[in-house]
């Protein structure tokens, strides 16, 4: 059997490799997506003080540090049973939506944009952000870079720096918003809204307006019929910072709506021997393996999954964009994986509007931003919608607030099964039938995972690695007298 390896997969966060197995006719018999990377956070976080966790767990991911920072601070609030003052919550959500706004743009323009604007058949050496800027022109290129810089500015002003900010701690935030900062945040929020609208327009013109891409979006090669989950407010509208988790099945019906603290009743994670990342699934349906459909427990927690699992957007322009999305795609739910890019831009506009709304809120400059904990710490669960999916931090501490147990289910991990299926489906549809295997075809296989904007730095926070252990016993002359091995990988 012939084997094709794409190693490493590129334009994503973290490590991954794809192995395709082809039969004698050149058709894809199977496709495996593996994550060959380990981090090990869950175990070494144990023993650390809970208030340091927002600054430790963000090192899981330097692309979405704010997501870990916030989930961790919220878990810390819960551990100490403390309610941050209203201004602190608003500052957190404002910074968080500004972060998602920048993060979604990073994905659309820097990571996946080259597929659309430079093209899968272009010279791979050109298929990157610089090639994209060359293609779309310096004016748009500068606008993208300015948007990223302004997202970074909001977070730097509040959290000291963009990558690994230090703003949140149990009970609130460390730094308040001055009137000067508020004026700048409003200005940036207005830019964000304009940029969100501009990006949606660009998508419509450059991608939907292109016949080949239009066909790809609706192609069965990029179609997975999964369930969907999202964090929603009381009206079932998407929320990134707080709410309840709503699960909607592959046909669009609500399955359950639960408090994030009840996650263990609804989500479980499978371990497979050929990769280092686990496979979460919905317990309501059970684990049936890497298959889609109503019977399967596989779900999506992506921009597309979130739109499918919510009943609208809480801001006016994003709501319009949401309605336009479903009208064009043929109604809810949408299972076309490449439409995830569009859904991401709808979310980006929502975050822009929400950020501006909070920046304009008079209470945002209230100096009361900390509640000092008084209760004995014990257990807490904190969630946010990370750009790549629902992020859950679960901590159990001793009476001093020192961590005893840590469990993390991160954004990308939610989507692990769907990503594996999307890669296999694209590979089987695109490769074979006697066609020559080109770089362009392989990039189209990579486009299947890129729609998820996966972060395998996050997904490998845990360390389920089969460890190698060799014990050699030498005598005084240096001769080996005994050798014990439990090596996992004898063949390599």
């Amino acid at each position: 059997m012939k084997r094709i390896t794409i190693d490493p997969i590129t334009r994503l966060e973290g490590h991954g490799k794809i192995t395709l197995f082809l039969d004698d006719q050149g058709d894809v018999v199977n496709a495996y997506f593996q994550v060959p990377e380990f981090r090990g956070f869950e175990s070494f976080c144990e023993g650390r003080p809970v208030e340091e966790m927002p600054r430790i767990t963000q090192r899981i991911c330097g692309v979405c540090p704010m997501a870990h920072h916030m989930a961790s601070a919220k878990a810390g609030d819960a551990v100490y049973k403390v309610e941050p003052p209203p201004a602190a919550k608003k500052i957190r959500e404002m910074a968080y939506t500004a972060f998602v706004c920048g993060d979604h743009a990073t994905h659309f323009y820097v990571l996946s944009g080259p597929d659309f604007f430079v093209g899968p058949d272009a010279d791979p050496a050109q298929r990157n952000i610089l090639g994209l800027i060359h293609k779309v022109g310096l004016q748009i290129g500068r606008r993208v870079l300015q948007h990223l810089a302004e997202s970074h500015e909001v977070i730097s002003l509040l959290g000291g720096r963009f990558v690994h900010p230090v703003m949140a701690l149990p009970g609130g935030v460390a730094k308040g918003v001055s009137p000067e900062m508020q004026a700048r945040f409003i200005e940036i929020g207005e830019h964000f809204v304009e940029f969100g609208l501009f990006s949606l327009q660009l998508w419509k013109e450059a991608v939907l307006g292109d016949n080949a891409f239009h066909e790809m979006i609706f192609s069965p090669a990029y179609y997975q019929r999964t369930h969907n989950i999202a964090l929603v407010d009381a009206q079932n509208r998407l929320n990134f910072y707080d709410g309840r988790v709503r699960v909607v099945d592959a046909e669009g019906r609500e399955v359950v709506r639960y408090a994030p603290s009840e996650y263990r009743e609804h989500i479980a994670e499978r371990v497979e021997p050929w990769t280092y990342v686990k496979f979460p699934y919905l317990k309501h349906f059970g684990w049936r393996g890497l298959v889609d459909g109503m019977e399967s427990g596989v779900y999506r927690s992506t921009p597309l999954g979130r739109l499918n699992a919510s009943e609208g957007m809480a801001t006016p322009r994003a709501q319009e964009a949401y309605e336009e999305f479903y009208a064009y795609m043929g109604g809810k739910p949408v299972h076309a994986t490449l439409a995830t890019h569009w859904a991401r831009l709808v979310e980006m506009l929502y975050c822009a509007e929400r950020m501006l709304e909070l920046a304009r809120d008079p209470e945002i400059t209230d100096p009361n931003i900390r509640t000092i904990p008084t209760e004995t710490p014990h257990e807490g669960i904190g969630v946010v919608e990370a750009p790549r999916g629902l992020l859950t931090h679960h901590y159990i501490t001793d009476e001093r607030g020192i961590l005893q147990k840590v469990n993390l289910i991160v954004g990308t991990t939610n989507n692990h099964a769907a990503i594996c299926m999307a890669i296999k489906s694209a590979a089987q549809a695109l490769i074979g039938g006697g066609r020559e295997i080109t770089q362009g075809l392989l990039d189209r296989v990579e486009m299947a995972f890129r729609a998820f904007d996966p972060c395998f730095a996050c997904a490998t926070h845990a360390l389920p690695g089969e460890m190698n252990l060799d014990i050699e016993v030498f005598d005084a002359k240096g001769e080996r007298v005994a050798y014990l091995s439990r090596t996992a990988d004898q063949a390599s």
């Binding site: 590129t10 973290g14 495996y32 263990r264 499978r270 979460p280 063949a491």
Partner: protein, 338 residues
């Protein structure tokens, strides 16, 4: 002027160092004028096979971020060393192990059991564990094995320069790149830093006469935003941390945790921080000192937050246990310095 060939790579990392490069913003466009990016998995489509096909020394400059965690990391470190004229340990993970270096406290066996078998959401009735080599109907799949300890880049291959920070501040990165392009590289090996310590860049007032009776934790107090954290009894790694970030965390009203690594002339950042903290104690007698030390929660995670893998503690431990490490033989062949 001929363009240089530039590469960036992540080993065991969080991706923040790559974002620090993206944060160069418009400088990226200037960089593209003088450099061809020949490998950067985060943002470009070159594969390992493209790097393997390069002549030795083809890459002028490689910014290598991430720690050495797996056999694959070791392999790529050697590969990029061979293909690069100048190899830079970029960021805290590559330079000193960073926060993931704390995993050396528990070891991989403990972490394995915790994540794959014990966490409350894990459903693993057969106790399945990921395998380095796994037979499937179509053939076999392999995963790189984990090294016994997490190591810095320099503990695996010779390194020409280091840029500290978690991640390095993008202004410092740009300064370092410009210095390289202008041929003005210092001999001491450290790029993107300022003289002395974070305290020298800190705007807070240090009165020098306050003595600490007990340490407090950041969520327990509302600290005076104008005064030195350490003098208020909040542990701050500023005195034991190289300057270069501009005291960003302190200016955001949170104490420094030391991500820029030790100042010049200091080998072990944790020991230096302990030294600075003991100097602030009010007590004189052993009992008094013991009482104050008792208020320091999590000493190892505080003093060695970023530098455990590069600490004297780790080096002593690595010497004792090198025989157990599946990656040790690969390192030794390249003149391992441990």
């Amino acid at each position: 002027m001929n363009k240089i060939n530039l590469a960036a790579y992540w080993a065991s990392s969080c991706g923040g160092c790559d974002i620090a490069i993206v944060e160069l913003g418009e400088h990226l466009l200037e960089l593209a004028q003088v450099a061809d990016i020949v490998f950067w998995p985060a943002a470009t489509d070159f594969k390992y096979a493209d790097v393997e096909a390069m002549a030795d020394g083809f890459i002028d400059l490689t910014l290598f971020n991430g720690a050495i965690r797996t056999e694959e990391d070791v392999h790529i470190a050697h590969l990029l060393r061979q293909k690069s004229k100048v190899l830079i340990a970029f960021g805290s993970c590559a330079m000193e192990g960073c926060i993931p270096g704390l995993s050396n406290l528990v070891g991989p066996e403990r972490a394995l059991r915790r994540a794959a078998l014990e966490t409350p959401s894990t459903d693993n009735p057969e106790g399945v564990l990921p395998q380095g080599h796994f037979e499937i109907p179509e053939g076999a799949l392999t995963l790189p094995r984990l090294c016994g300890t997490l190591r810095t880049l320099e503990q695996v291959v010779p390194v020409d320069f280091k840029i500290p920070g978690c991640p390095p501040n993008h202004d410092q990165v740009w300064n370092a790149l410009q210095a390289y392009l202008a041929g003005h590289l210092p001999k001491n090996g450290l790029l993107g830093v300022d003289p002395r310590t974070v305290c020298d860049q800190c705007p807070r007032v240090r009165e020098g006469k306050i003595r600490v009776k007990q340490f407090q934790r950041p969520h327990e107090v509302i600290a005076d935003p104008e005064r030195c954290f350490l003098e208020q009894g909040l542990i701050c790694a500023g005195p034991a941390t190289h300057a270069g970030c501009g005291a960003l965390c302190v200016k955001a009203n949170m104490p420094c945790r030391g991500c820029y690594g030790p100042p010049d002339g200091v080998t072990d950042q944790g020991a230096a921080l302990l030294d600075a903290i003991v100097a602030s104690f009010d007590g004189q007698s052993d009992a008094e000192v013991r009482q104050i030390v008792g208020t320091i929660i999590d000493p190892i995670g505080t003093f060695y937050r970023f530098s455990l893998a590069n600490s004297l503690l780790q080096k002593a431990r690595a010497l004792a246990s090198q025989g157990d490490d599946p990656c040790a033989s690969q390192a030794a062949t390249e003149g391992e310095t441990l």
